[in-house]
């Protein structure tokens, strides 16, 4: 009968083909393409409106972008950021070490510092420092309860707008960075400290040479967050009529009434600063990741170079074949 299949072929499994020579077809991701098109359309629409809407007044933006007064304001902003950033983190490091020390006094001083400066608005702190002369007319250094004075000055002459700004920003920054650094230090394994003390390495060197370099990996992302926040945070100093970037553009638009274009000028500069800082962040983080990764990934520049040497340079030889 024709319905009976030959039993021999049904029982022996067909020989496995050699798959190693088959071509691999990647899985299709159609929705990814749909998404890409939608995002691209959205970006294009925004770009189009930015270019074609005359009310953005790009001409005015370009005119003021590199104006002397704006550049001066920019320099002041950078100065404030750099000084209060550095001083804030140095003070924050000391506060973090105090908080982690075994002395109850240092712990409570550090805790109280962070508590006060994190619970008062920066605006209030700045105004308080600037108006310190109202509370204390003179600042002097001497032996208490005697007439001996080594140094004495009017508070208002000591605390200029700049000094008040640096003081306010630094102390505020220190309170936040202390917690960031403390978090970083806590992330380092206790065994590291133990090994270092077993080797007779003094406490200060243990902190700076063993713990801190390892803590940096945890500290850096948050620290750059803070610094980038600080760049824009300096704009709050306008309450002291200190002529940093934001106060400068305010003064200009109050005169010219070109409010939005001038705010754009300030914004674009903040974008530039943040971008530069982000590049720094990338390379500094890379530096501190040595030893943490078995092999460092390539930098974008190295990747680009590799792409061009392998693809662009390689294609002619391919053609030649």
């Amino acid at each position: 009968m024709s319905a009976i299949a030959p039993p021999a072929t049904a029982e022996t499994a067909p020989p496995t083909p050699n798959y190693s020579e088959y071509k691999v077809v990647p899985a299709r991701q159609p929705w990814r393409w749909v998404g890409t098109v939608l995002v691209a359309a959205g970006v294009a629409a925004i770009a189009w409106s930015l270019v074609t809407n005359p009310r953005w007044e790009w001409g005015v933006v370009a005119e003021w972008f590199t104006a002397q007064s704006v550049v001066n304001g920019l320099i002041e902003t950078l100065k404030l950021t750099a000084i209060s950033g550095v001083l804030g983190f140095v003070l924050g490091f000391i506060l973090a070490l105090m908080r982690l020390s075994s002395s109850p006094l240092l712990v409570s001083v550090s805790w109280t510092f962070s508590w006060i400066f994190r619970s008062t608005p920066l605006l209030v702190q700045l105004l308080l420092w600037y108006n310190l002369g109202y509370l204390y007319e003179k600042i002097s250094l001497g032996i208490p309860f005697t007439d001996v004075r080594f140094f004495e000055a009017q508070t208002t002459t000591l605390i200029s707008q700049f000094a008040a700004a640096v003081l306010g920003l630094t102390l505020n920054q220190a309170a936040y960075s202390a917690e960031i650094i403390r978090g970083g230090i806590l992330s380092v394994d206790q065994g590291q400290l133990e090994a270092a003390s077993a080797l007779g390495i003094p406490a200060w060197k243990r902190s700076t040479r063993i713990v801190l370099p390892q803590a940096m990996r945890a500290i850096l992302p948050n620290a750059f967050n803070e610094i980038i926040g600080l760049v824009k945070g300096t704009s709050i100093v306008y309450v002291l009529a200190y002529s940093e970037l934001f106060y400068t553009v305010q003064v200009i638009y109050n005169r010219t009434q070109q409010v939005l274009p001038l705010l754009l000028v300030a914004t674009l500069w903040y974008v530039v600063i943040t971008s530069v800082l982000s590049i720094f962040q990338y390379y500094i983080e890379r530096h501190f990741s040595k030893g943490a990764l078995r092999t460092l990934p390539l930098t974008p520049l190295q990747r680009a170079r590799k792409f061009f040497t392998t693809h662009v340079a390689a294609s002619p030889t391919k053609d030649a074949r």
Binding site: A198, L199, G200, I201, G291, A292
Partner: protein, 303 residues
């Protein structure tokens, strides 16, 4: 509580030496006549450790209940016992990583962590404790290498920072030490690029870099894959012959039998018994010792 006088008189030393050489020279029995102590190639004059009635509690748990132990210069003491018996804590009191609650420890007659003034013991300041620690090397179960420094940088960190040696001198000595543990060619590798066994060998080189009188090993092979254990034990075996006093906490019973002058069995914060490997492994006096060894030593391996 037991006070063990493990100080070697010459007869005992010769006996230990014979026992040590026995497995190696089994093929040529004529050689056994050399009664030179195998553990002492250069005369050991420093590194006497005396632990007297040491007590230590964590909260309400007493982990050391009056422990006394003496290790002579150049001696090799191996501490074994169940986990939680206080072995590691005892080791950590020797370099004052743990402060003792009672009793005292001396190294070459000098009190660890304290100073005698009048009839009082004054706690030493951090600086002086650190100085004492440079005479005591320590190797940890979890290596604790500094991951941001290369192998060589790990080894030379303490000589440069704690002993203020010149960088060139420290590097030269560091490379010698890495060579000694068989890792000269990996001097520039970071710890994460090394295997566990290699990391522990770097850690041993790091401990040796301060030229310590005493080396403490806290379960040096417990975190290693079985096939990597021997490369570390071989390095420690070499050290046992160098005249440095070694105190080793381990679960490697075969190693203890080969290398130790004195095997110390601890349980529940006390030294149950101690003696030569022969005494402890072959003829334990205490029931607790016997029952512990019956659990940890697999008869198939005939240790």
């Amino acid at each position: 509580m037991s006070i063990i006088a493990a100080r070697k008189d010459s007869a005992a030393a010769a006996k230990v030496a014979e026992e040590k050489q026995a497995p190696a020279s089994a093929a040529s029995p004529a050689n056994t006549t050399t009664a030179q102590p195998a553990s002492v190639n250069r005369p050991a004059t420093r590194g006497q450790v005396d632990i007297t009635n040491v007590r230590k509690s964590f909260g309400t748990t007493e982990v050391l209940k009056g422990v006394s132990l003496s290790v002579p210069p150049g001696g090799v003491a191996v501490i074994v016992g169940p986990s939680g018996s206080g072995k590691s804590t005892l080791l950590r009191t020797i370099n004052h990583l743990e402060k003792v609650d009672g009793g005292y420890i001396t190294i070459d007659g000098e009190l660890v962590g304290y100073e005698v003034r009048g009839n009082k013991l004054h706690e030493l300041r951090e600086k002086d404790i650190l100085k004492q620690r440079t005479h005591i090397g320590m190797v940890f179960q979890s290596f604790n290498l500094f991951p941001h420094l290369t192998a060589l940088e790990n080894v030379i960190e303490a000589p440069i920072v704690a002993q203020k040696r010149s960088k060139a001198e420290a590097r030269k000595r560091g490379l010698e030490l890495l060579d000694r543990v068989g890792l000269k060619d990996r001097a520039d590798a970071y710890p994460r690029q090394l295997s566990g066994g290699q990391q522990q060998r770097v850690a041993i080189a790091r401990a040796l870099a301060l030229d310590p009188k005493i080396l403490l090993f806290d379960e040096p092979t417990s975190a290693l894959d079985p096939e990597l254990v021997n490369e570390v034990l071989d390095v420690i075996r070499e050290l046992a012959k160098s005249g440095t006093t070694l105190i080793v906490v381990t679960h490697e019973m075969g190693f203890a039998r080969d290398v130790a002058d004195t095997v110390v069995f601890m349980d529940q914060g006390q030294i149950v018994e101690s003696g030569t490997p022969q005494d402890i492994f072959a003829n334990p006096r205490e029931e607790r010792t016997r029952s512990f060894f019956s659990k940890v030593i697999e008869p198939a391996f005939n240790i």
